[in-house]
């Protein structure tokens, strides 16, 4: 298929430039192969994160021709060869070097989410029972490989920098008045909360966290997260919107509020999940 020019950003947080490299493209090749070829033959210090090269670990996130992608899942035959292939690091996160960005903020947000806490076991041997039906729904969210492409493309983080003021390194803070400083958890962690909130065994209520700390209200459901997800998770339709509806139940809907009050008055306990009838 011949030689193709790759225009790759080289630099660190103090600045850098785009460098052009030539690489030989063969059948079935992906962008990451080209980066490796360049690394092995022309630029041994070209920094790039990768692990599995099979779309399963979510390490090689970057922007190829302006689109957030996994480099290992972007086949060269889907890109035009007559102009340079542009490879940039993820825009939303601080650059470490070349194509490697500092994604540690995501790990800090993750830690804010209270872990799974199951109800008491259903059976005497300490196990639980669930149907495949409810499992199917949360398994979709658990397909997430934490590539953080959704975080990168989400304009609330990418353009409006709502990383909150929780960091100490000064890189990922937005600071324009009180409402501007609101942290946004980002699509990845909406999905993570969804996988916990919709878990039939879980007993923790994370809706206040979602509403007040992760600020689900900042999401204006423009669906870019869904568009870039390499695992094809319906982040918005199946994750964020159902959570928004649950937040409405909890905080905005007067009928739901009244129903809860009546329920409490009648002594009906709220249940997150149905009890299990022992077989």
């Amino acid at each position: 298929m011949g030689k193709v020019t790759f225009r790759i950003w080289r630099g660190d947080k103090s600045g850098g430039s785009f460098n052009d490299y030539q690489a030989e493209v063969s059948e079935g090749m992906v962008v990451l192969d080209a980066v490796h070829q360049i690394q092995a033959t022309q630029a041994p210090d070209l920094a790039c994160r990768w692990n599995c090269k099979a779309g399963k670990c979510g390490s090689c996130s970057a922007e190829v021709n302006g689109k957030p992608r996994l480099m290992c899942m972007t086949r060269m035959d889907t890109l035009p060869h007559d102009q340079p292939v542009l490879i940039q690091p993820m825009k939303a996160f601080p650059i470490i070097r070349d194509l490697v960005t500092d994604v540690s903020w995501n790990y800090r947000v993750n830690k804010k989410i209270p872990p799974f806490k199951p109800r008491p076991p259903d059976a005497p041997d300490g196990t639980w029972r669930m149907g495949q039906e409810e499992v199917d729904r949360i398994q979709e969210f658990r397909k997430c490989i934490e590539c953080f492409l959704c975080q990168n493309v989400c304009h609330v983080l990418r353009d409006h920098r709502r990383f909150g003021q929780t960091d100490t390194d000064g890189n990922l803070t937005s600071g324009k008045g009180p409402s501007e400083a609101e942290l946004f958890g980002g699509p990845r962690f909406m999905i993570r909360v969804a996988s916990l909130e919709m878990h039939p065994l879980d007993t923790v209520n994370r809706l206040p966290l979602l509403q007040k700390e992760l600020n689900i209200g900042l999401c204006n459901i423009t669906k870019c997260c869904t568009e870039v997800c390499p695992e094809h998770i319906h982040i918005t339709d199946n994750g964020i919107i159902p959570l928004k509806e649950r937040v409405v139940d909890e905080f905005y809907d007067p009928l739901m509020w009244a129903a809860r009050k009546v329920g409490e008055a009648l002594g009906i306990r709220r249940r997150k999940s149905l009890p299990i009838v022992k077989p």
């Binding site: 063969s26 690394q39 210090d45 692990n51 779309g55 070097r97 499992v135 949360i138 993570r192």
Partner: protein, 618 residues
Amino acid sequence: MNIQTHEHDVIVIGAGGAGLRAAIEASAGGVSVGLVCKSLLGKAHTVMAEGGIAAALANVDERDNWKVHFADTMRGGQYVNNWRMAQIHAQEAPARVRELEAWGAVFDRTPDGRILQRNFGGHRYPRLAHVGDRTGLEMIRTLQDHGIHQGMAVYMECTIISLLKDGERVVGALGYYRENGRFVVFHAKAVVLATGGVGKAYKITSNSWEYTGDGHALAYHAGAELQDMEFVQFHPTGMVWPPSVRGILVTEGVRGEGGILVNSEGRRFMFDDIPENYRNQTAKDEEEGFRYCLGDKNANRPPELLTRDHVARCIRREVKEGRGSPHGGVFLDVSWMTKPGAFNNFKDPEFVRARIKDPVEHIKKKLPSMYHQFKELGGLDITKEPMEVGPTTHYIMGGIRVDAETQMSRVPGLFACGECACGINGANRLGGNSLSDLLVFGKRAGEFAAKYAKERSAGRINPQQVEQEMRSALAFLDSPLGQENPFQVQYDLQNVMQDLVGIVRTEGEMVKALERIEELKERAKRASAPGNREYNPGWHTCLDLRNLLTVSEAITRAAIERRESRGAQFREDYPEKKAEFGNRNTIISKGPNGEMQFRWEPIPEMPAELKRIIEEMK
């Protein structure tokens, strides 16, 4: 010393399944734990595991129990396993799987709401708890999200280059942050190695870049022994086309769901060669094999689900004898069941039709990742066309020799678990036993490392050792430009191992390999990386190379000494299994002058009770 130092009771190196499990257990033991990983947290090679976690839960077939699992593991390992580890593993795996569910893992379910289990090669009953074909991801995410709330400190993108010793004892580790190249010392009472395998020593591998044998090499240099290094598992089905994805795994689940292996003549060649000790567990015809895949408890497994070593060799034979596919593999076909009239030749086609309403949807639901992997990387629809597959380096059964109960090596304070440790798998690992191994022995390593740490005071770190290790690491950066390209050296090493110490081995080739490795060692010393210490892959490769060369040499030396064919080791010059090798393990260790030493270690006598179990299950 003017370098960052972190103090912990236990330091765990590697954050895959075993490392995370060890760190969780050590934290539960009430000690301070540091978890060091070479990549970001949650990216470890465990995410690539597809099939499932083998545990005798008996949810699907009530005849299953730990004894059957133990016997299956021993048979698969050709009886050179550490029988005590195989026993512990079979007994404790169910509890470890249930524990994952309590931490939030979401396994596929049986109709009565319990954890679903699937068939896999070498397992007599459906035994693998699974989540579609992405079980490893589920496991690592569960452990990760549970682990971060247990109080451990996580050091991401930090590579360990040396273990630090105080006399005989291990007292810490020296590493560097990939991000900025700065060195860091971890001062700890106990060190747990959970660094995984060595696949990057081979050209065609399903393993990720991290698999450079770090733990094996660190332990070796610290004085631990490496056992059974000759047993490298070649997974029979890796992708072979297009070239850039060569080696990427095609899960055994494809065969477990009814995928068949066919040569270029259209013959299902696996029926032609069924080993004697598996004959009465293997299907008589195609229909019986497929009924087994659909859950018929009275049917025996199809020959495609024989152990990995055997299937890999059969594929290699077909290719070598000119009956391979266009790109040097064979065909793996699930699309046969979507063809009209596919079940017409069956005696009881209704049995199949009742279970598979829509074959295309059935395949997509059972093998979603495989469907996408071939669609996106191979441009092929597996519901319509057969895949091309061939053997790929997948796993190393050999590793750091450890105590079965505590997972401690012969070096005090140095523990190992997971792929980098040795024992449970013998000469060949059964699919699904790896994930359960990580959990069972990860837990044990963490537990006993914490116990060990609590009973001791901190040792002293020798600044000279740190100084010397740092200097040797930095030498690659300082050496003048234009010397050896580390990527080229690694590439050459991969070719040597692939060609000379691959699936089929001979003494002559391996002796040649040793010579080549010696040359490569010299070249690796001269390897040089331009640029600075910040996230410099060239430099990282220079450092990884040292480990790769150490394990390559160990594999080759052990493989030369085992002059027989057993499990994953196939010697063309000694094609038979020999009883005299059936009761001993190969041991590699570092001699007093830094040379690699070899010896045999006899396997202790198995207790009568376990012997009886093996006899009963034959």
